[in-house]
């Protein structure tokens, strides 16, 4: 019985600890949010200095989480190698590249050093460019899928897309001289109106999300 009461007391103190932690995290988030918001309206003076400090602290925390990401990534791929899982060759390449980047960074003189820049320019940038160059082909297959008329919406989409495509190329004006004018009208009136409508909604939604977090109504950083 004594053991059970001790367990009960432990659970109760754990719950109290969780409540305190939750309240503290909400308080920190609220204060930090209000400081940064106030700084938006005051460009100089104490609010600006405090907000700079808060943002600097946030960047330190973000750097720490990057380290956490690196650890989980390394752990996952080392585990894959140990288990001899399929695709472990890619894991080996990833870990080798990670190690090489670390060595170049430490030996070469940090992230802004010429050696590190060369490493990025020679390896990472070409790889990213190669991947993005595939977008054109992916775009064609996506367009092919969309161009199958399923309903009124997709039918309208096809008609407008053909008119705009023809209006963009010189041969369009040869077919019918009004096509470039119609294309400009599509861009300037319905497309722009639609985009502005979407952006207005996105702006309002962003403000709503920000305010919910700022006023402590939404707390993604602690269980609610």
């Amino acid at each position: 019985m004594q053991g059970l009461s001790e367990v009960g007391a432990d659970t109760s103190s754990q719950k109290k600890g969780q409540v305190v932690t939750r309240r503290a995290s909400v308080a920190v988030a609220l204060v930090a949010g209000v400081i940064v918001l106030v700084d938006f309206f005051f460009e100089r003076g104490a609010p600006d200095a405090i907000a700079r400090y808060v943002l600097y602290s946030a960047s330190v925390v973000a750097a720490a989480t990057l380290l956490l990401g690196l650890i989980t990534l390394t752990k996952r791929h080392v585990d894959k190698l140990i288990r001899r899982a399929p695709g472990r060759g890619y894991s080996a390449v990833l870990l080798a590249a990670l190690l090489a980047t670390l060595v170049i960074g430490f030996v070469g003189g940090g992230p802004g050093s010429p050696a590190m820049r060369r490493w990025f320019e020679a390896v990472l940038f070409p790889l990213e460019a190669a991947l993005f160059s595939l977008l054109a082909f992916f775009f064609v297959t996506a367009i092919y899928r969309v161009f199958r008329i399923k309903n009124f919406e997709s039918g309208l989409f096809i008609v407008v897309a053909i008119v705009v495509l023809l209006g963009q190329v010189p041969v369009g004006a040869l077919i019918w001289d009004q096509l470039p004018i119609i294309k400009d009208w599509v861009f300037d009136v319905p497309a722009l109106a639609g985009v502005r409508g979407i952006l207005l909604g996105v702006g309002l939604g962003s403000v709503a999300v920000g305010l919910r977090v700022l006023l402590g109504m939404d707390r993604p950083y602690s269980r609610q």
Binding site: A62, L66, Y90, I198, V207, A208, V213, P220, R223
Partner: protein, 245 residues
């Protein structure tokens, strides 16, 4: 303070007032009267299918981050993840969560350890994967995850750029059922072309209200509508003013 800052401050004040007014005047059945968004039913269906098949649901939180300009998109994505985590207690296989912002790792891990798992006696280990912070490399990582046989469906919600198309098309090619949401108007055509269900623009931020039904989320939707009507009215008045004076 400049004029723009005064206008910003006034806008915030109006929004906060609208928020509290919505809370006071909200009807008890307000949740039932929200317009239906098919995405949320499709999400429930995708989760049920994943649970039945014993395969995983892939959840991507986008290439944006919580400390970037697109933090609102990431927060909206977290609302979707929270709902999935709550309902995934019956899954044999925990959802695979991929993210590009390392700051989201602790939040995602915390959400995936929801008590729902404990309630039914199952505790699949959370599978949260930080791939990289570079958008194209993240897309490559997601394509690799989608290629795995354990993935049944993919839910991609958050901030995306052009790299979305690489992932969306990969999911289509691999016959993975795909649900996606984005706020960037230049990405929305890609989402429309590749996803079975989509959240367009502001619908993304409504995820919390529809999925959790939390009062403040619903009230903020009503406040958004109220402020939207004010803006529409202001636009009409200004257009009229400019036209006649």
């Amino acid at each position: 303070m400049s004029l723009a800052q005064w206008i910003g401050l006034a806008f915030l004040a109006v929004f906060i007032m609208a928020l509290y007014r919505s809370k006071r005047q909200a009807q008890p059945d307000v949740l039932a009267r929200l317009r239906p968004i098919p995405f949320f039913d499709q999400l429930t269906d995708a989760m049920a299918r994943a649970a039945e098949s014993g395969r995983a649901l892939h959840v991507s939180l986008g290439t944006g981050g919580i400390a970037s300009d697109l933090a609102a998109d990431s927060l909206a994505a977290l609302s979707v993840l929270e709902a999935i985590a709550r309902r995934s207690g019956t899954f044999d296989r925990a959802p695979i969560v991929t993210l590009a912002d390392a700051a989201l790792i602790p939040i995602a891990l915390d959400m995936m350890q929801e008590p729902a798992h404990k309630q039914v006696g199952l505790q699949p280990a959370p599978d949260v994967r930080w791939l990289t912070s570079s958008p194209p490399a993240y897309a490559a990582g997601v394509m690799e995850v989608l290629g795995g046989s354990e993935v049944m469906s993919s839910v991609m919600v958050g901030a995306y750029g052009d790299e979305y198309l690489l992932m969306g098309e990969a999911a289509n090619r691999l016959n993975r059922r795909q649900l996606a949401g984005a706020s960037d108007p230049t990405v929305l055509p890609f989402v429309w072309a590749t996803a079975e269900g989509m959240l367009m623009g502001e619908e993304l931020y409504a995820a919390g209200a529809y999925l959790s039904g939390r009062a403040w989320h619903v009230h903020s939707l009503l406040a958004q509508d109220c402020v939207r009507w004010m803006i529409v009215l202001a636009i009409l008045v200004l257009v009229g003013f400019n036209s006649f004076f």
